[in-house]
């Protein structure tokens, strides 16, 4: 690995200052499960690692009085999925956080790192999109918010400007009678990058017969994780039935523009986008109904 410097700011202001000072060679270090390896393998040029794990806002998570949840960008997955309230109120986040790598990775890997690494196959991003997450960003010119679905711009790239960092992600309180779920397909049962992944969040009518609204996202089928509005629209206002769900799955499959590589073929991915969308909608419905 090329030589590095390491700084560990104790506050957001210090972190922003450190990023400003070191310019383009500085990278934020959260759990390091992407960036350390990328630097070692020469896939990212890093001169300075700015470790944000000493900053409270970036490592804690808390519920707002309105039931919203704010997750520090660098909070490790294992802490998130180990939390009883998160398990109860945001099970889809648990789905994602508990699938990223093995236990050893989950001790360190963060949602913020997963999002900022901006891989098209990242296993948290579809969930963050489906849950309507909003990125809380800080930088030299202050704070700004960006919806997660607008965050990634290309493989490995996102809207963060020089000197900016992601502080946390805020999820609105789940609506009444709602549920969400995430699933991915991999050839093994652990330790693979998703061939395709998908997340759905649905809100049902009080009697559970009808979709009020829905958000669906699929990953590994395009240069960035996709928010498939058409799939959600295919459900909103429609009865909960196999036909409607099939239509949403077809919309997700249509939206998929995958490539063929060592992890899967384009045809396989297009097919799986539909299969997984169906699965996650069904799980989300079951969760919405309290099953």
């Amino acid at each position: 690995m090329q030589a590095l410097e390491y700084v560990a700011p104790a506050s957001l202001d210090e972190a922003v200052a450190a990023l400003a000072k070191h310019g383009a060679t500085a990278r934020v270090l959260a759990g390091g499960t992407d960036v350390i390896i990328q630097a070692r393998e020469g896939r990212r040029q890093v001169g300075v690692m700015v470790d944000i794990k000493g900053i409270k806002e970036a490592t804690s998570f808390s519920f707002g009085s309105d039931g919203s949840l704010t997750v520090g960008a660098a909070a490790p997955c294992a802490r998130l999925y180990g939390d009883a309230e998160v398990q109860k109120r945001f099970p889809a986040l648990v789905d994602s956080a508990s699938l990223i790598g093995g236990i050893q990775i989950q001790s360190r890997a963060s949602l913020g790192g997963n999002l900022c690494n901006s891989s098209p196959a990242a296993d948290s991003i579809p969930t963050l999109i489906a849950l309507g997450g909003v990125c809380n960003i800080i930088g030299p010119s202050g704070k700004r918010d960006v919806p997660v679905e607008d965050f990634c711009t290309a493989p490995g790239q996102n809207v963060l400007q020089a000197g900016e960092l992601l502080v946390s992600i805020t999820f609105p309180a789940p609506a009444a009678n709602s549920g969400a779920a995430f699933e991915r397909f991999i050839p093994r049962n652990e330790m693979d990058i998703a061939v395709v992944n998908a997340a759905a969040s649905v809100a049902l009518s009080a009697d559970g017969s009808k979709f009020e609204s829905a958000r669906i996202a699929v990953g590994a089928v395009a240069p960035t994780p996709l928010y498939v509005k058409a799939a959600g629209d295919a459900l909103a206002g429609k009865p909960v039935s196999e036909a409607t769900i099939d239509a949403a799955a077809a919309a997700a499959s249509d939206a998929a523009k995958p490539i063929t590589d060592m992890r899967g073929s384009a045809a396989q991915r297009k097919h799986l986008a539909g299969v997984l969308t169906k699965h996650v909608i069904n799980t989300a419905i079951a969760r919405a109904k309290g099953a």
Binding site: M1, P187, R188, N189, E190, G264, Q268
Partner: protein, 747 residues
């Protein structure tokens, strides 16, 4: 355990804790990368980014100018300033390319620096000029006359004589018996298919690592995690032109090999760097180096035609088997033609084998080399015929099974073998007798065979004053052979396992030993141990005779006790040892054998239940039983371990593992993230049934157990998938992608 008949053993058949165990569970054991020599430099290898290119020029001046860099070596350092790089022999050219690079990952230069980071930075500063050539990656394409040629000087060895011009076909070998035309004419059912498999890697968890110190007196010491310290010494000597007498190889603990750590890669390079710097040099590979720069096992294309009569007798088989050798000539296809029908009596057979060079890493053995791909083809056709004839697949195999006296793989009749016993054990197993229910599920079975090789083994045994013995062996211990050899010595001497202390020693300290491979250590070194034990007993008889006022040949040794002719005087081995060594003079004996090339064969049979998800194409292994003839299971737990390990490697090979190449000849998945070996979550418990049909060629009836267990899984799983989905799988891996393609046309 299914046992035909064997003597009552005291130590053999028990499950003691291995002598090297505590060091391995506490982290104290020293593996290849754990060797730290004072003042050692770190070495790294620069590898070709191209699959095929002429090597025009290497300029290391910028690298040498980097602070902390001590030396750069290339093939020039092997041949010397006036040497001819184009004449570099294959083994040398594979570890440092001469005039041509033949695969991506081919070593072209190496750096020694004050630490590993500096060495890696320096690699980026070496400037190499390549003239890129078209590459050929597919075995059948490489056989075509218009294919890019790897070696201008290569001529095909064929029964009809050498080829006229250069070719990528190294050899055409034929294994033929009977008259196949007449044979097929007798058949009522004939099946014929083409199969192909991809290059796969042994996947040992420890990357290659070696340390070398070239002393100023030209004594070269090498520490390495090799499968064979003596063959490593020999190779280094040949590559560097340095005499064996001046090379000492000290084997470290070894973190897996499966055939992949027989060849040397880093050892000669570290030696060159040490010679250049006067310091010890430690080198290790990273995982990508291991995938791209060591020896995986060949991909294949195999066509087989198989025929039987309607009463279920296999009569004729024809095959055309093409095996990738990688960048340099090998002999996998030749072995394949011999083993492909070994489990069956088929009168008329003809198999053509084609060994072919392609622009991929030079291939190496991987447990039962060549046999798994051959069985993947053959055992599926066997199942198809059994199905067509409506005969139970196990009973069909039994009806046609090879047996003592039937024609063996090289034409000579088999000695006592255990294939029938394995298939019978399968028929009687709890697994086979439990019906498999549920949709999308299928059960498959398959047999497998591998030779045992014998070759040379030597051990030294010295008696300690307290009556215990030290056993010094020269084969590295990958999976508990120190224990299995100590057990055989204890059995020979009638002492306890605890009274034998087994150590793996360096090449200066014991007679010559061939590789830890070919399932040979417990077998052949076991024979050497037995020999040494007998020598020791004879020596003690010599010593006891005068004190008992008799002659050595009057002294008997039975069940660990020496006695004189009338039984009035007796002494246990230990008492005799204390009396003659503890209170006498030291005693060391050796045992050396050459157990021949072929040393009996071993058979395995596997049963597997799978479920295939029709939506995703993913195959789940529901239940797995491995059955194998161990001859005599010296340490049954280690035999089970070999069977289970082989089965799971086979599961990986069947379902997901492959060298996935992009268009430029780059392996796109050269990491454990994307080269998907099975995890603990991908497999169930592997049930085992050890069959014991003693090997008549071994004093304790031992057969090699390391290899046959990887032969059946590919075919067994394919047979199971075919039953679950109704679609035959002729290509590996049977990945979810492939299953969706073949079962649902999603391509």
């Amino acid at each position: 355990m299914v046992t035909t008949s064997k003597p009552e053993y005291k130590v053999i058949g028990t499950r003691p804790v291995r002598p090297d165990g505590v060091d391995k569970v506490t982290g104290r054991a020293q593996y290849g990368a754990d060797i730290k020599q004072q003042g050692a430099l770190a070495g790294r290898v620069l590898r070709s980014p191209h699959a095929h290119a002429n090597l025009k020029k290497i300029d290391a001046s910028k690298a040498l100018a980097l602070d902390g860099v001590k030396a750069v070596v290339t093939a020039r350092d092997i041949v010397g300033p006036d040497g001819d790089l184009s004449k570099l022999p294959d083994p040398a050219a594979n570890i440092l390319a001469g005039t041509k690079v033949l695969y991506r990952g081919h070593a072209v230069a190496a750096v020694a620096a004050i630490n590993d980071h500096v060495a890696q930075e320096a690699l980026k500063l070496i400037e190499v000029e390549y003239e890129v050539l078209p590459a050929v990656l597919d075995v059948r394409e490489a056989m075509r006359p218009d294919a890019p040629i790897l070696h201008e000087a290569l001529r095909t060895r064929a029964p009809t004589g050498p080829s006229e011009g250069p070719s990528n076909v190294v050899a055409q070998t034929v294994s033929a018996f009977g008259d196949i035309e007449a044979g097929f004419a007798e058949c009522d059912v004939i099946v014929e298919r083409e199969f192909s498999t991809k290059m796969v890697h042994q996947g040992y968890i420890e990357p290659q690592a070696a340390t070398a110190h070239w002393n100023s007196d030209d004594q070269l010491t090498i520490w390495t995690c090799t499968q064979g310290s003596f063959p490593a010494r020999e190779s280094v000597s040949q590559i560097l032109g340095h005499p064996i007498s001046k090379i000492k190889v000290i084997p470290t603990e070894i973190g897996g090999g499966f055939g992949g750590k027989i060849s040397v890669y880093l050892e000669p390079v570290a030696a060159l760097l040490s010679r250049a710097t006067g310091k010890p040099v430690s080198m290790r590979m990273d995982r990508t180096d291991v995938f791209e720069g060591t020896g995986p096992t060949p991909g294949t294309n195999i066509r087989i035609k198989l025929g039987a009569t309607k009463d279920g007798k296999l009569r004729a088989a024809y095959g055309d088997m093409a095996y990738e050798n990688g960048a340099y000539p090998g002999s996998a296809a030749m072995y394949a033609t011999m083993v492909v029908t070994a489990a069956y009596q088929i009168e008329h057979v003809k198999f053509d084998g084609f060994d072919v060079v392609v622009n991929k890493p030079r291939t190496q053995d991987y447990r039962a080399p060549s046999a798994p791909a051959a069985a993947f083809a053959m055992e599926q056709l066997i199942d198809e015929i059994a199905d067509q004839l409506k005969i139970d697949p196990l009973k069909f195999r039994l009806m046609n099974s090879a047996a003592e006296g039937s024609r063996g793989p090289m034409g000579m009749p088999f000695k006592r073998i255990g294939h029938e016993e394995c298939v019978e054990a399968a028929l009687n197993s709890p697994h086979y007798n439990t019906p498999l229910e549920g949709p999308n599920r299928g059960r498959g079975v398959a047999s497998g065979f591998w030779f045992n090789v014998g070759l040379r083994s030597s051990v030294n045994v010295s008696v300690q004053p307290d009556g215990t013995v030290n056993l010094n062996e020269g084969n590295t211990d990958i999976g508990g052979t120190r224990a299995s050899l100590a057990m055989q010595l204890a059995e020979t001497l009638g002492i306890t396992f605890e009274d034998v202390k087994a150590t793996v020693v360096d090449t200066d300290s014991v007679g010559v030993n061939d590789v830890t491979a070919g399932s040979r250590v417990t077998f052949a070194s076991g024979m050497a141990v037995h020999e040494a034990g007998k020598n020791l007993i004879a020596a003690l008889k010599e010593r006891l005779a005068p004190t008992w006022q008799t002659t050595p040949d009057e002294v008997q040794f039975e069940a660990g006790v020496f006695k004189n002719a009338d039984g009035s005087k007796t002494m246990t081995f230990k008492e005799a040892a204390v009396a003659t060594v503890g209170r006498g003079v030291g005693l060391t004996v050796s045992g050396s054998v050459n157990a021949g090339f072929l040393a009996g064969g071993g058979f395995a049979h596997h049963i597997v239940d799978v479920e295939v998800d029709p939506d995703t194409g993913k195959t789940t292994i529901l239940r797995y039983t491995a059955i194998q003839d161990a001859g005599t299971a010296v340490h049954p737990a280690y035999v089970e371990g070999q069977m289970q390990g082989g089965a799971v490697q086979g599961i990986g090979w069947a379902l997901n593992e492959e060298y996935y190449y992009d268009d430029t000849g780059r392996m796109a998945n050269s990491s454990f993230l994307d080269y998907r070996i099975p995890t603990s979550l991908d497999v169930p418990m592997i049930e085992t049934i050890i069959v014991e049909v003693p090997n008549p060629l071994h004093p304790f009836g031992v057969r090699g157990v390391g290899e046959p267990g990887i032969v059946p899984p590919l075919a067994a799983i394919a047979n199971a998938v075919a039953r679950a989905t109704g679609v035959r799988q002729t290509q590996l891996p049977m990945s979810p992608r492939r299953i969706l393609e073949t079962t649902r046309g999603i391509a």
